[in-house]
Symmetry: C2
Subunit: 247 residues, 2 copies
């Protein structure tokens, strides 16, 4: 049995791109999550249905490989399938291709189902997972965690704004990416291209909190390590790999 | 002669909506500006052509009337026409309708053409304005300016982030809206609905600047007045009218 694939086209528009002319990574992740949501809707596993069961999907980790980020006005195809699952984890793949069918971005993500009241992970009910035709696996993936920040080279603080929170009172994914990357020097962001990103979500951030975005920049290896903290809590961390943009 | 109208459909998606379940006003303005850009492209008046002439469009004012903001998954039609122009100003109308044809939002905007090197407004060249089939008018519109902030009731500071700037190194429109509205109390934003907004752009904000967003909230009239400043410069101001959301 092979999991059902679902695809949508998207034209990248000017306000989704950043100063380097390509889509912001957070915005691209928003789009990928949208496509997975649309697949769930098409299979009858709507957010409303989950909500009635007191459940909600939560992302715990994304691992991305980026060949090239699409530019403004480029049309891309975003595809996804929920490849495998075990008792607690659902492993979902995403890929973004250009109009010639070249793969631009690949993302592997781990989702869990959360009991909204108890704030605890639940076993995946058969009625929820069956429609995706994912393969059941006993094994639990051992995805590498992002390398920790040992010696931060820069740090910036951000207040969680009203517009940062969505209908579930959660901070949207995109803001973690912005907080993490904005802490890097502009000169670095202008002259380097993101090739890999591994981001792990640990603890929600709430409206009104002030987050600290710390980064450790390894200029030789072109690796950046990121952590978002509130008071003594680690909320999210990530590891990014970069390459220099040639002139 | 009547100006050419151009329309596009858009499905509002979850990450464009805020905690109240409707599209963020800045995101809606982004969409409207996108549609006007697409009209320009379709008429051969592309940003690239303007750029080759050393020119670029700049918005100086938007006046909006909001009947209802669309919710997540709602499909809306966004239409625009460049109704009238005189030597220096181009007056453009936008309207957003739902699938039943009901008008949700109307926006009237003033655009000027800027010489990118001299940073000065230029006369509208015939070759640029002719394709829109706008009506020439001698009169210069006297749009009301937003009421000034006399006695700020709250103020917040925002650092312009790397992701706030676009390919032209300009701060995207959407961020002004976020800075202005986020300065209001969350309780007010949760319980009131925006019905009118008049926003005037005066002076660009640049990357790395810290802006101050000051607001004067008139709880009786349900009017908020906003100003964005950097050091001693007024960059942008706005006046918003609200109504209480009934339970």
């Amino acid at each position: 049995m092979s999991a059902k694939t679902f695809s949508e086209d998207h034209r990248v528009v000017y306000y989704e791109t950043n100063v380097t002319g390509v889509i912001g990574i957070g915005r691209l992740v928003d789009l990928m999550i949208l496509v997975s949501g649309d697949q769930s809707d098409s299979l009858g596993v709507t957010d409303q249905k989950l909500s009635e069961l007191g459940l909600g999907w939560v992302v715990t980790q994304h691992v991305m490989d980026i060949t090239r980020l699409p530019h403004a006005n480029e049309v891309v195809t975003i595809s996804t399938k929920a490849q495998e699952y075990n008792r607690f984890f659902c492993y979902r793949d995403f890929w973004v291709t250009d109009q010639e069918g070249q793969q631009l971005v690949k993302m592997h993500s781990v989702f869990v189902l959360m009991d909204r009241t108890k704030r605890k992970i639940v076993r995946l009910p058969q009625e929820i997972i069956a429609p995706y035709e994912s393969e059941y696996t006993k094994k639990i993936e051992r995805l590498a965690a992002p390398q920790p920040v040992n010696d931060a080279t820069a740090s910036k603080k951000y207040r969680v704004r009203f517009m940062d929170i969505d209908g579930n009172h959660h901070v949207n994914n995109v803001h973690y990416f912005d907080w993490m990357l904005d802490a890097l020097p502009a000169d670095f962001l202008l002259n380097h291209r993101l090739t890999k990103m591994n981001i792990q979500y640990r603890q929600e951030v709430y409206y009104g909190a002030t987050v600290s975005s710390q980064v450790e920049l390894d200029q030789d290896e072109l690796i950046t390590k990121h952590v978002i903290t509130t008071e003594d809590e680690k909320n999210c961390n990530a590891e990014c790999h970069w390459e220099k943009i040639s002139d």
